[in-house]
């Protein structure tokens, strides 16, 4: 009697405890499922390609851009994401797309091209339209360190074959079971016993979902029980459709360094570079194959295994009547088709800049969890050109100067100087590798890159112009009672009296130091600050030769001001941020501010063109197209540790740095190292030539380039045209018409001019 009561009591107690346990699990399960189900990393997009009549892109170029966005060539424009090309005409079925300022529906676009440029755009009704754009490419997301990354898809965005395939392979009775499938477990045990290894799991999709939500992968009996109870509870509360959708968005499908690839939406982009809705049978089967073991069946690293399992998936689909056997066989004949490297997160240096920009306005959690959409200025075309050019040229330079130790490194920043858009950032070789970002973090002495700002400061005093003669003569400056600074020219020679234009073009150190000391270190330091340095540099005479450590991005900020006519233009990687429900949150508008006299900047820009024509930038002429006017400056740090080149056309500015991470001597000057990369990059970008109109306050004169004396065709074999303020009238070169003919009435004015020349010379 007593015993029976005891048994009943303990049984009741046990049931009570079990009920409590189940209740707790129930709470946990519903909360997880109904509450914030997934944290959504911010999605980052490149700039969309704007199309308009006159844009210099051929039909082949356009096709390349479409392929970059994973459009497929098709005979029929059946669905968005396809295009048809016949000769010079391309018809595109554009996908629906979200832009920073517009939600665009899927639509047809016809692009006519003529002689390597777009000649006409027409919409789906055949009407001509002034412009259109391709959708912005997804370039990555901002996910927490060691965190999950995913792109959420709605059931409408899921191709129906995917859930069908998942059921066929993972959970045949999904539609009817209540969360667990005892038959499947038995089958799995039997298959296991026979094959000696796990070929088929006994877990339902619901159990897999629970495991992914809550549990560590450790397999213990207790966990199995807990998992089963939770699966039953989930099924009791939610519909099969909801559970399938949750599964599709939740499941782990790959690893990319610290980044865990979750859900089929992201996996589709990660492995195939296109939206889930556009996958074909073979590609869907590949993703379903990966479910079973994302690292074991990694289609990039273990293509053979992945292929075998994909074929098994296809066979199961055919066996169960989901697809006709012929279709399955056809799909089995396809290659895996995964992209060479993962789309997204492969512009780490650029994303780094985006992240740093956003951290000023957003908390880390906002970025990694709330599904922001971030629209950037990255130009994928220019970015990949910059990466390729840097890799190729560094490999070549490594062969030229073979050194032991880590290979030569480099960084590139490209901007659109008028708007301040940062359009490409390369942080090192193997740009896909998310390592040390040299473009943003390598602070190196800039050498002669500082010089244009000294010349600008000099011109702004009104005491100098491009034709003014300065003395390239030995310099000796006492820095401390027993410390004498005696810089030299690169060639260890001195050049005597030279015009400003030549001193800058040939990067003469002594002339520049003399000029800078005449202008004053204060003035030079302030000028640099105005152009965008965060702090005024130390007033050390060595500043005049570039004893100033800056990152390539800092240099891009400074030179963007020169390229934009003396307007400091805030560099910006991000254009706009919108919320997950498409509300505009933050815009980063163009921001320009005049920081220098525009005439003086014009003169400096013209002198920087002579760098390219006659000076240290001259080798670029062999690479750049004829008539493509560019301006630029080389920089080399002491002992050839850092090789720089910074310069611009009318539409693009590029800064290139190369050197070793451990600061070893490279053996390259700016000209022999960075310039090659710069000029090849500028040539492939194309763009427009530099052409700012001559300011009304300046006039052109021609001078003899070596001496700076006034000259004209016939009396000098090295003429250069320079813009100078009116009234500037250098001494005439002997032998030029109108020059010193003794005994004529111009003798007095000649004397005046000679006096002025001498005066200039002593300055």
């Amino acid at each position: 009697m007593k015993l029976r009561r005891l048994i009943i009591a303990s049984l009741l107690l046990f049931l009570g405890a079990a009920a409590l346990y189940v209740l707790r699990l129930d709470l946990l399960v519903t909360r997880q499922f109904e509450g914030r189900r997934w944290t959504l990393p911010a999605q980052v997009y490149a700039a969309p390609l704007e199309l308009y009549a006159g844009l210099p892109l051929s039909s082949a170029d356009l096709e390349r851009e479409l392929r970059r966005l994973k459009y497929r060539r098709a005979d029929q424009l059946a669905r968005p994401g396809t295009y048809r090309r016949s000769g010079d005409v391309i018809e595109v079925s554009l996908r629906a797309a979200r832009f920073a300022d517009e939600l665009r529906a899927a639509q047809l676009l016809t692009i006519d091209t003529d002689h390597d440029a777009i000649s006409r755009l027409r919409d789906g009704t055949g009407h001509e339209v002034p412009l259109a754009r391709f959708e912005p490419m997804l370039i990555g997301s901002i996910f927490p360190i060691h965190g999950e990354d995913r792109i959420i898809v709605t059931p409408a965005e899921v191709p129906p074959l995917l859930p069908a395939a998942l059921k066929a392979v993972e959970d045949r009775n999904f539609d009817t079971h209540h969360g667990i499938d005892p038959l499947a477990i038995l089958r799995a045990l039997w298959v296991d016993a026979r094959a000696g290894q796990i070929e088929q799991g006994g877990s339902t999709l619901t159990q897999q979902l629970v495991k992914s939500y809550f549990l560590t992968p450790r397999r213990t009996a207790a966990r199995k029980v807990r998992e089963a109870i939770m699966a039953l509870l989930l099924e009791a509360h939610f519909s099969k459709t909801d559970l399938m959708n949750a599964y599709i968005n939740e499941i782990h499908l790959g690893q990319d360094g610290d980044r865990a690839i979750h859900g089929f939406g992201l996996a589709s982009e990660f492995y195939f570079g296109k939206p889930l809705a556009e996958l074909d049978l073979s590609e869907i089967a590949t993703l379903v194959a990966v479910v079973r073991g994302p690292s074991y069946y990694d289609p990039r690293r273990h293509a053979d295994r992945a292929l075998k399992r994909r074929d098994l998936v296809l066979k199961l689909m055919a066996d169960q009547g989901i697809v006709p056997a012929a279709d399955a066989r056809h799909a089995q004949a396809q290659p895996l088709n995964v992209t060479a490297r993962a789309a997204g997160a492969y512009f780490p240096a650029y994303l780094d800049l985006v992240r740093r920009t956003l951290r000023r306005d957003y908390r880390e959690q906002d970025l990694t969890e709330t599904g922001l959409k971030v629209f950037t200025n990255l130009d994928p075309r220019v970015q990949s050109m910059a990466e390729r050019t840097l890799d190729r040229e560094l490999a070549r330079l490594d062969r030229v100067h073979k050194q032991r130790g880590a290979p030569l490194q480099g960084a590139v920043v490209v901007t659109a100087p008028q708007s301040g858009d940062v359009i490409a950032v390369v942080g090192g070789r193997d740009a896909g590798f998310d390592g040390f970002d040299r473009a943003l973090d390598a602070r190196r002495p800039i050498g002669s890159l500082v010089k244009p700002f000294i010349y600008l400061a000099a011109l702004e005093t009104g005491r100098y112009n491009a034709a003014t003669i300065i003395d390239d003569a030995p310099v000796s400056i006492r820095l401390a009672p027993n410390k004498l600074w005696q810089p030299e020219n690169f060639t260890h020679q001195t050049y005597g009296p030279v015009p400003l234009v030549r001193a800058l073009a040939e990067s003469l150190n002594l002339a520049t130091v003399n000029l800078g000391m005449g202008v004053g270190l204060d003035t030079v330091a302030r000028s640099l600050k105005r152009f965008g340095l965060e702090e005024e540099p130390t007033r050390n005479p060595a500043l005049l030769l570039g004893a100033l450590d800056l990152t390539p991005l800092d240099v891009a900020q400074l030179y963007t001001g020169l390229a934009n006519g003396g307007f400091r233009t805030t560099l910006r990687a991000v254009r706009a941020v919108i919320s997950s429900d498409d509300k505009p949150l933050k815009a980063f508008p163009v921001d320009v501010q005049p920081v220098a006299q525009s005439d003086a900047v014009y003169e400096v820009d013209r002198m920087l063109q002579e760098v390219m024509e006659r000076g240290t930038g001259r080798p670029a002429r062999a690479v750049l197209p004829q008539g493509f006017t560019v301006a630029g400056k080389s920089g080399t740090s002491s002992d050839l540790r850092d090789s720089w080149f910074a310069g611009f056309s009318g539409s693009d500015l590029a800064v290139v740095w190369i050197g070793y991470d451990d600061d070893r001597v490279t053996g390259f000057t700016g000209t022999s190292g960075a310039l090659d990369i710069w000029s090849h990059l500028m040539a492939s970008i194309g763009g427009t030539a530099w052409s700012t109109p001559l300011p009304e306050s300046l006039q052109e004169i021609t001078i003899d380039y070596p001496t700076g004396l006034k000259a004209q065709t016939g009396c000098s074999d090295d003429l250069v045209s320079v813009p100078v303020p009116p009234g500037t009238d250098p001494v005439l070169k002997p032998g030029c018409p109108g020059a010193a003919v003794p005994g004529v009435g111009t003798a007095q004015s000649l004397l005046d001019r000679a006096g002025k020349w001498l005066h200039d010379l002593t300055h």
């Binding site: 704007e50 308009y52 009549a53 006159g54 844009l55 210099p56 920073a100 300022d101 440029a117 002034p130 412009l131 659109a416 008028q418 708007s419 858009d421 934009n564 006519g565 307007f567 254009r575 706009a576 505009p584 815009a587 508008p589 163009v590 921001d591 320009v592 501010q593 005049p594 525009s598 024509e613 008539g627 493509f628 006017t629 009318g650 539409s651 763009g687 427009t688 030539a689 530099w690 052409s691 700012t692 109109p693 001559l694 300011p695 009304e696 300046l698 006039q699 052109e700 045209s721």
Partner: protein, 168 residues
């Protein structure tokens, strides 16, 4: 809006802008086009004189013109941020067209960003050298932005420059 109207007034009919300006002869861009302009349209022209013959005349390409008119609609609907973003799209197509800088400046002026409007008007002036109509619109914008900041004397000077260049 006055400024914007003036700028759009001289638009719509040009070939696309993107092609690199091929320098003539001496390897310097547009040296030939520049020479007469610096003589004919110096900023100190007197009121009452007939406006100088334009040495060049900026126009908006069709794509920019479409974007500018879209921006006007957006600005009129009280959405200056969107309007600015739309004109920035046009600026990516024609970064050196002073008319677009005037348009962008006008949007900022309308949104109360007077200093930014002033900067953009000056950016336009730099690019517009030799095009008195564009220069005149830029000076009108300078005047507006100065007036909005209470700098009336300087504003009148800017206005006078605009009128000397032929602004009505």
């Amino acid at each position: 809006m006055l400024v914007a109207g003036f700028a759009v007034g001289c638009s719509m009919v040009s070939p696309p802008y993107q092609q690199p300006s091929t320098p003539a002869g001496d390897g310097r861009p547009e040296a030939a086009a520049r020479a007469p302009s610096s003589a004919s349209s110096s900023g100190s022209a007197q009121p009452g004189q007939p406006p100088p013959q334009p040495a060049r005349e900026y126009k908006l390409g069709p794509a920019s013109a479409a974007l500018v008119s879209q921006a006007h609609t957006q600005a009129a609907a009280g959405n200056p941020d969107l309007a600015a973003a739309t004109i920035e799209r046009a600026l990516r197509i024609e970064p050196a067209n002073p008319l677009l800088w005037i348009e962008l400046g006008a949007v900022h002026q309308g949104a109360g960003h007077y200093a930014q409007a002033d900067s953009m008007a000056h950016k336009a002036l730099q690019l517009a050298a030799g095009d008195p109509r564009a220069e005149a619109s830029a000076w009108l914008l300078v005047a507006e932005s100065l007036r909005a900041r209470g700098r009336t004397a300087e504003a009148s000077e800017a206005d006078a420059r605009a009128h000397a260049l032929g602004a009505r």
